[in-house]
């Protein structure tokens, strides 16, 4: 009897709790490590999430010519789409030119974005090596790395972007 009352009280409390905490019906299926790895393509500014592989500026130049130049022009000068190189020192002037080199605070974002979204018509078609290479090439076009530099999960997060200190957080 005592146990029954306790049990029904507990049911009662659980119901109350559910009303207030809006607990869900717990229908999600636990994802496996492999599933999460396959889905997780985002890379933090600390480089966590960068895959294995590497690419050089020279390799990147070739890939760029075939897969990017049509929309971003010679040397990343833009036309018909976003300009990717140049504009250094223009942000405080009257006609700022925002490019990967003049504006972006993190080199990891270049890898993350190209891998997920470029080339525009065939996103996620490049191999990780190719993404490293074309990232290296765009950084080279901006004078941020030398012609003989290799980008990989170790070197890329260490790149100091020129406008790294140019942002102020409105949040938090």
């Amino acid at each position: 009897m005592y146990k029954q009352v306790l049990a029904s009280l507990m049911v009662f409390y659980i119901c109350i709790f559910q009303v207030f905490a809006q607990e869900g019906p717990n229908l999600g299926v636990e994802a496996t490590v492999e599933e999460v790895e396959a889905w997780d393509i985002s890379i933090g500014p600390d480089g966590v999430g960068l895959p294995e592989g590497s690419g050089t500026v020279l390799e990147g130049a070739d890939i760029y010519a075939i897969k990017c130049l049509a929309c971003h022009s010679e040397q990343g000068q833009g036309q018909i789409n976003d300009r990717l190189a140049g504009g250094h020192g223009t942000l405080s002037g009257p006609a700022p030119i925002k490019t990967v080199g003049s504006y972006w605070p993190y080199a990891t974002t270049v890898f993350d974005y190209i891998r997920r979204a470029m080339p525009y018509l065939q996103p996620q078609s490049l191999t990780n090596d190719e993404v490293y290479a074309v990232t290296a090439y765009i950084l080279f076009l901006n004078g941020i790395v030398n012609e003989d530099q290799t980008m990989n999960s170790q070197t890329l997060p260490g790149i100091q972007m020129p406008n790294r200190e140019g942002f102020r957080l409105a949040y938090p």
Partner: protein
Amino acid sequence: MESNFGGIVESKSKRIEESVAGNGLLHRRVFLTQAGSIFGVGTMGMLGSETTNAQNMQGRPAWMQSPGKGVGAYGTRARFEDHVQRTAGSAPGTTGAGASRTPLQHLEGIITPNSLHFERHHSGIPEIDPNEHRFLIHGLVDRPLIFDMDMLSRYPMISKIHFIECSGNSRVSGLIDEPVDQDCGVLHGLVSCSEWTGIPLSILLDEAGVDPSARWILAEGSDSAAMSRSVPMAKAMDDAIIAIYQNGERLRPDNGYPMRLFLPGFEGNTSVKWLRRIKVTAEPTMTKDETSKYTDLLDDGTSLMFTYPMAVKSVITSPSPGLDLNGAGIYEISGIAWSGGGHISKVEVSADGGLTWGEAALSEPVLDRSLTRFRMAWRWNGAPAVIMSRAIDNTGAIQPTRDSIIAEKGMKFAYHYNGIQSWAIDAEGRAVNTYV
């Protein structure tokens, strides 16, 4: 008959015109007491054509002479309304890296029809089979979880009426050297308002078990750009919704079908459409769309980052460019106001370029982070005039002038512009964008 500022004038037709501010702004009692009869010359917009009037006179218009069209499975609007369209544009060489803008000047009330809701995509609209769509929550959680749409349909849902606004909205209305000669929808139509129905995100995050070190989430879409944004955990837990319905129907593809994130009051880009993944993180991920884009470049060359809430704003939708006044007389000025900070507490209207202001009536409902409709009676004397509105929200935030914004932030930023919009009306009754 002219009413003087501050005075009360009784016109020939016994109409009480109480002036509330300069150049003909009237207390709206003028409408309440004389409903219908006051539009002496004509209302804004279209009057019936002469033939239609003639038929109406005979009492037997064509559409009364035989039975109308039959019932149907899916509704369409009147063909006479086909001119009401969004204005669309996309990056060169693309069709889906762009925006279409709501024709605000042709809409009334506060709810945007789904077919006219603004769009902003970064790589087109994916066609997602809801049966194959999966949603993953992972990162700093006890248990990474995968959901399908069937599972999600069994969760408790809430419905909220909220606006959503692209933070690039209104930039062209005020941040260009010379006023851009476009209509209200083109200048301000990256805002729309709907009833959103879905699951509080906090329920799903609680089920996954958020680690105490987590401060952010990353939300990622299932479009071909896998568009992604970082959102503060506080927002995710507070009022974020996994929206599945919009204005009663399932989301449309251009608004994220089959599911989107919806963050009330935050810049639209963060309400990631076609949501497929939420990663719980300690720090922001610094994606392209929160660094290269959606950051605000100030005069000194530094930029503001994570400028999430949309500021208080309003615009007069009628009269506005394209909706000409049809001769001197009494008109209702109608417009919308909204704020990401709360609800609208007051809207003031000026008809003399900002010299004097009168308080507009707010149409119910006045909701938190929703469009709010305001109205003001105006006797236009037929002379050139500049009309404008300014909104104030319940936090006390006041919509600023263009000049004060430019003085504070310069003209190099592209997002979160909320300056007062002025329409110059010429002697012919035509309205154009103007700077005062």
